[in-house]
C-alpha cells in the first residue's frame, strides 16, 4: 500500500508541476495582451537548435512590418513555458526603428517552448513559438 502511494505521488508530481507552469504562462500572456485575437506567423525566431548554456541563449526576433507611422510593431513580448516564472522581456518599438528586429540573450532553465507575441499599431497580435533544447540549465533557481 505504501509502495503504491509513493508511486502515485511520484507520478502525480510532474503533471501538477506542468499544469502550474501552463497556468502561469497563460495568465502572463492574458495579462499582457488581454483577449485580443492572435494569429500565428509573421515572426521569424532565430534560436540555436540546442542551447549549450541555458544562462545565455541567443535569441533573434524579426517581425514582418512596414514600420511606418500608420502600421508598425508597438511591442514584442517573450515568454518561456517552463522557467520558474514565464516572463522574459517586453520590447517597445517605435517607427523610428528601421525594422522590427531585436536580438538579445535569455535564460532557459530546461527544455521548453519559447513563445513570442508581437502587437501592431493596428491592434493585431502575431504569435510564433520555438521548441528549445537546453544543455545546462540557466541559473534561475
Amino acid at each position: 500500500m505504501i509502495v503504491r502511494r509513493t508511486c502515485l505521488a511520484l507520478l502525480a508530481l510532474p503533471f501538477a508541476a506542468v499544469a502550474r507552469a501552463d497556468d502561469a504562462l497563460s495568465t502572463a500572456m492574458r495579462e499582457t495582451i488581454g483577449d485580443k485575437p492572435v494569429t500565428d506567423g509573421g515572426i521569424l525566431l532565430r534560436v540555436p537548435a540546442l542551447a549549450e548554456n541555458g544562462g545565455q541563449v541567443p535569441l533573434g526576433i524579426v517581425v514582418e512590418s512596414p514600420m511606418t507611422a500608420q502600421d508598425h510593431i508597438t511591442a514584442i513580448h517573450v515568454f518561456a513555458s517552463r522557467n520558474p516564472t514565464p516572463g522574459v522581456a517586453t520590447f517597445r518599438l517605435t517607427p523610428l526603428l528601421a525594422r522590427a528586429e531585436v536580438q538579445t540573450r535569455i535564460r532557459l532553465s530546461e527544455d521548453q517552448r519559447l513563445i513570442v507575441l508581437a502587437e501592431t499599431s493596428t491592434g493585431r497580435v502575431m504569435r510564433a513559438s520555438a521548441e528549445m533544447r537546453v544543455g545546462a540549465g540557466g541559473c534561475l533557481s
Binding site: 541563449v57 522581456a89 517605435t94 528601421a98 525594422r99 528586429e101 538579445t104 541559473c139
Partner: protein, 109 residues
C-alpha cells in the same frame, strides 16, 4: 537618482550615409539576480534591472522591460535608419530606481 555601479557598453558607428541603416549593440554588466537562486542554502537577494530606455534626438526609440528570463549582462541589438545627425541616449534603471546612462552621436557623412 543614484548611479548604478554597472558599466554600459555601446557599439555604434560614428557616422553613416543619409538613409543608411545602422546596427546598435548595447551591453551592461549586471548580475540580473532573480532572488530565486540559492547558494549554500541561502537565497541570493534579488538584484534586477527593470528597464532599458533608448532615445533618439530626445524621442523614445526603443525600450526593453526585463523579467526573470533576461540573461545576466543584458545585451540588445536593434536597427535604426540614419537621416540626420543623431544623438542617442541610453538609460538602464534597476528595481531600486538606480540608473546607468550613456550616450552616442552619429554624424551624417
Amino acid at each position: 537618482m543614484s548611479a548604478l555601479p554597472s558599466q554600459p557598453r555601446i557599439r555604434i558607428p560614428r557616422s553613416a550615409r543619409a538613409g543608411e541603416v545602422i546596427e546598435i549593440r548595447t551591453l551592461i554588466e549586471h548580475p540580473m539576480e532573480t532572488g530565486l537562486r540559492h547558494e549554500a542554502g541561502r537565497a541570493l537577494p534579488r538584484d534586477m534591472l527593470t528597464r532599458l530606455m533608448v532615445r533618439l534626438n530626445g524621442e523614445a526609440l526603443f525600450s526593453a522591460d526585463f523579467q526573470n528570463g533576461t540573461a545576466t549582462n543584458p545585451y540588445h541589438v536593434f536597427f535604426v535608419r540614419i537621416e540626420k545627425p543623431s544623438h542617442f541616449e541610453f538609460i538602464w534603471t534597476d528595481e531600486k530606481g538606480r540608473q546607468a546612462r550613456t550616450e552616442a552621436r552619429v554624424a551624417v557623412a
